[in-house]
Amino acid sequence: MLKACDLHKTYCQRSFLIKHDLVKAVDGVSLSVMPGQTFGLIGETGCGKSTLARLMVGLEHPDAGMVLIDESRLDRAKGRQLRDVRKKIQLVFQDPYLAMDSRITIWQIMKEPLDNFFQFSEQDEQDRVASFLIDVGLDTSVMKAYTHELSGGQRQRVALARSLTLLPKYLVLDEPLASLDVSVQAQILNLLVNLKERFELTYIFISHDLNAVQHLCDTIAVMFFGKIVEVLPRFELSRAVHPYTNMLLESLERREGQREDWLEQALAKGHEEAGQNHDETPGCSFAQYCSYADMYCSANIPALKQIKDGWQVACWKKL
């Protein structure tokens, strides 16, 4: 089981007017992901999804809290144990360009982690790399190319294939479909479903594409300003409880409905929506956008509470 216990990460930024700007990127997140589960994480841009992903795989250290991977603490792991843990959990970065060395070929990029974690023969490595490249819809000739020779979507798929070749028990995917056309998206989603069944992988799937999340994930967590506000089974999504979850769902419906209507609405509605605001609020951070908010909400932070099996909500009014 993959567990996050009360994770906190605050970034300190020098600002131009105020001396120090504190950004609570991840603010007390606890979650547990069962083996074999497909855990979706949604939330607006800048709410802390990538930061949470980096904390979960140990690329960054939390200010407080800890991550448990199959009962062993990520921050305490050393030597052999650390290697074992690293092999178990992999992150596919949101920005494949930053994560890949531009001076070496795709083959070298893909071979490196295999060398690190396994003792395959060169031939086996090649077969494995080739088969995963084909699975993500690329031609094996890309092995000889450099990253800058690939298109955005091709690069994204190389990054995905690289993590998949390791068949990690837990795979954190940060916006893995972002710049792919629908047909390739569908191919990748089918591949993920297939691999999960064959190798019993566990995914944490970060995406702003609610359609894809609904298709792939059995559990969906909704994040707002560094906090998880609702965790619910996919099939309950239409009955989501938290006002913010409902706002996200509405924005999807708006897009699915009449195009022109939707655009008009977007134009008119424009700016009353949630945005970046890291002001200290003593209570529920959604209060200023919430139509159910009252004085109690603005003064007290609601904690994530279980309302049913597998369904948790952080809201005073909806419990």
Binding site: F16, G46, E273
Partner: protein, 334 residues
Amino acid sequence: MVLALSKQQEPANDIRLEALLSISGLTVCFPTPRGLCRAVRDLDLQLASGTILALVGESGSGKSVTGKAILGLVEPPGYFASGEIAVAGESVLSKTPENLRLWRGVKAGIIFQDPASSFDQVFTIGAQMVEALTAHGVDVGSARRETLKWLDGVGFRDPERIISSYPFELSGGMRQRAYIAMVMSLRPSLIIADEPTTALDMLAQSRLLALLQQMRQTTSCSIILITHDLGLAAGIADEVLVMYAGQAVEHGEARNVLSQPAHPYTRALIGSVNWNNPRGGLATIPGQPPVLSDLPPGCAFAPRCSEAVALCKQEEPPDRLQTGAICRCHRPFI
């Protein structure tokens, strides 16, 4: 955050009549050890002022290369093999590199696909945005005000924080919006937006679309929106151009192309937008796109096309139908 865009450069009347962007016979090649990769082949395109064109197509079909080529940007050893590009009557390819640098930004701006690599990592967002404006003769004070205004315009609640942030201190979607603000602050007559919404959630997407529309209305700029999101194309574009293996395979009014596609590839692409496939998995277009350095003879889509006949594998289809519609196919749906 309603933006009052002043009409900074009133477009001259004659430019309104003729095409703002005119591309003919554009071919861009990249020599690679695996052979010559022809990323864009024989592309023709006329775009009027104030038009929004959506450029769609499979990953690797040449959309980004086309977008960059319009600004004269092709990374060596890549080169322009043939063709002409003119923006507002000015030939792009005959400009000197120095002229091109000055011209870029004001006349035509590009929002690159990779929000991470677009910014210089060692300067703050604010420094780079102000620099972009002052390089074009705006004084520092107004540049700073403009910068704040545009950051607000793309939906930041705290532009002050963004201005003093380094690129790595922002999330993917924040970086993307900051870059969009930087490009738009120069009010170019032609905006090329390469997948500008990939890191944006639904609300930020709708806000960006609204902003693009507003921009088009007030400055009558043209926008080329490169996107994989057909819904987005349907929502905002006047025209749609579909690319396959480096070629424009279909081009026309958005409504026509998206609701009655004539080209089998466009049809297949639209067919894969179905989240409730009764057969379980999601529909994909079978087969793989061709390797650009090793194209098959005849129609490039033939190996995957359900309509293909023997002729398709022998002879390349002409670039338009007898009706004049732009569609590269021997057996279109009409």
